[in-house]
């Protein structure tokens, strides 16, 4: 049975690659715009490209539903989606996030070119099912100007760009990557495959 994975379309960026990536790993991946579709699925993907504040506004109708669903289903946040999991972000002012994890999101230091755009290596900090079969040293594709500063121990893997940056975080059913697994070639697809495995258990 193919697990149903809902990719939330809240008006931000390229969702097609995430959909095709998950589909290639055996999921029935659907791009959903309305809330009813979420209850029926086994797992959720919260993608994200663009600004924090706009994204939270666009997500307003999904907010409650996401917080309900994260108690019982795996959710994967990608890039901005990961940042939205935290309590607040400094992007364009100070804006509240979903507060699924404790911590805030701040801008990359001025000592580096912003955004970080390109392939960077990760270092595994602790075990996670999302990272099954993936060791330290692999390259993943990052494109972001802000990064998360967690206030609890959720960091599974980190990268370095001027400063140490959480690359993968996990707390209960919430998983998230700062990089784009759907744009990180073969090793990125392995992460999507691992997420599909998690969805199969629902």
């Amino acid at each position: 049975m193919k697990p149903k994975i809902a990719i939330i379309d809240y008006g931000v960026g390229n969702l097609r690659s995430a959909q095709k990536g998950l589909a290639s790993k055996g999921a029935n991946a659907m791009i959903v715009e309305d809330e009813d579709a979420i209850d029926a699925c086994d797992a959720i993907v919260l993608p994200g490209v663009g600004a924090f504040c706009d994204a939270m506004k666009q997500l307003r109708s999904f907010h409650e539903l996401l917080l309900e669903n994260v108690k019982k289903k795996p959710i994967l946040g990608i890039c901005l989606g990961m940042q939205l999991f935290f309590e607040e972000s400094e992007e364009d002012g100070l804006h509240k996030g979903l507060s699924v994890m404790k911590g805030r999101v701040i801008r990359l230091p001025r000592s580096v070119k912003i955004p970080q755009m390109g392939w960077n290596t990760i270092e595994i900090k602790k075990e996670s099912r999302l990272m099954a079969g993936i060791g330290s040293g692999g390259y993943f594709y990052f494109v972001h100007s802000y990064y998360a500063l967690p206030r609890e121990d959720v960091t599974v893997a980190a990268t370095h760009y001027g400063v140490e940056i959480p690359a993968v975080v996990e707390k209960d059913n919430a998983y998230a990557t700062q990089f784009h697994p759907e744009k990180s070639g073969k090793v990125g697809l392995r992460i999507l495959e691992n997420f599909v495995e998690l969805a199969k258990e629902m």
């Binding site: 931000v12 960026g13 390229n14 097609r16 690659s17 095709k20 990536g21 490209v49 663009g50 600004a51 070119k113 912003i114 955004p115 970080q116 755009m117 390109g118 392939w119 960077n120 290596t121 390259y139 594709y141 990052f142 494109v143 972001h144 100007s145 370095h160 760009y161 784009h180 759907e182 744009k183 990180s184 070639g185 073969k186 990125g188 697809l189």
Partner: protein, 266 residues
């Protein structure tokens, strides 16, 4: 550590890849997705599709090309060529592209960068700048010293055919302010010559801005690419002919760079 990127560029006309220099002697070279998969396998970090279709009907075909590529290739894809409106950006991103390169439209209407960055995020907006050296001293232009003399750089539009008289260095700072996430910098002097990138141009723009720079135009040898990424201070190198004519593979280039101590994704 962030790796330097190697980016093959495919010219796409009416949905097919074409080979040729400066739009002369164009020969069809196959389906974009097939070549994209090949470059992906070789280790390309990103891909660029440059749409050189002449007609509006021809331009529409890029959408299905992008859709097909997004189903099979999972590395970042940038699409450029004839993008004039914000709606063009939206439909190409929706089809599966990650970044849009805008050249002439931005010079004519700089607001498109600002609006595009605001609507889709800076990381989706690549400012493509074509520049040609002018060897004259002018007070109102930012000049650099080169082995061939002091020069400023003139911004060209319409596929490198029309001079604008705009200072490329000043323009690069302007596009950064407007919200471009990256600059794709092509030297009109070097393009097609295979005698190396314009290092003076690349270095100056890299020093004057704080966004990533992709150097384009002039790649002929492995050494040229190494220079662009070191002396030229570029973050990425883009090439077309050396890949299309099978002179080097992406792997050849990365091996060479690695041996020289440049961080690359292998």
């Amino acid at each position: 550590m962030l790796a330097k990127r190697i980016i093959p560029c495919l010219d796409v006309k009416d949905g097919q890849v074409v080979k040729g220099v400066h739009f002369k002697n164009l020969r069809y070279a196959g389906k974009p997705t097939k070549l994209a998969r090949m470059y992906d396998k070789q280790g390309a970090d990103e891909l660029v599709y440059l749409d050189i279709s002449a007609s509006p009907q021809g331009r529409k075909t890029i959408i299905s090309v992008v859709e097909e590529t997004a189903e099979q290739v999972f590395i970042p894809l940038t699409v450029g060529g004839g993008i004039n409106e914000v709606d063009d950006i939206r439909s190409i991103l929706k089809a599966g592209a990650d970044k849009i390169a805008i050249n002439t439209a931005a010079v004519k209407k700089p607001g498109i960068i600002k609006e595009g960055a605001r609507k889709f995020g800076s990381q989706c907006i690549v400012s493509a700048i074509d520049a040609k050296r002018v060897y004259e001293e002018r007070e109102d232009m930012i000049s650099v010293d080169t082995p061939d003399g002091r020069c400023w750089f003139d911004v060209y539009v319409y596929g490198g055919r029309k001079s604008t008289g705009i200072d490329a260095i000043a323009w690069s700072k302007e596009v950064e302010k407007l919200g471009a996430g990256e600059i794709l910098l092509t030297s009109m002097d070097a393009d097609g010559t295979k005698m190396g990138f314009d290092l003076a141009l690349t270095k100056k723009i890299s020093e004057e801005t704080n966004i990533p720079i992709i150097s384009s135009g002039g790649a002929g040898t492995l050494g040229h690419i190494h220079e662009a990424l070191t002396k030229g201070k570029a973050d990425a190198a883009l090439a077309a002919s050396i890949f299309h004519y099978r002179e080097y593979t992406v792997g050849d280039i990365k091996e060479y760079l690695r041996e020289k101590g440049v961080t690359v994704r292998i």
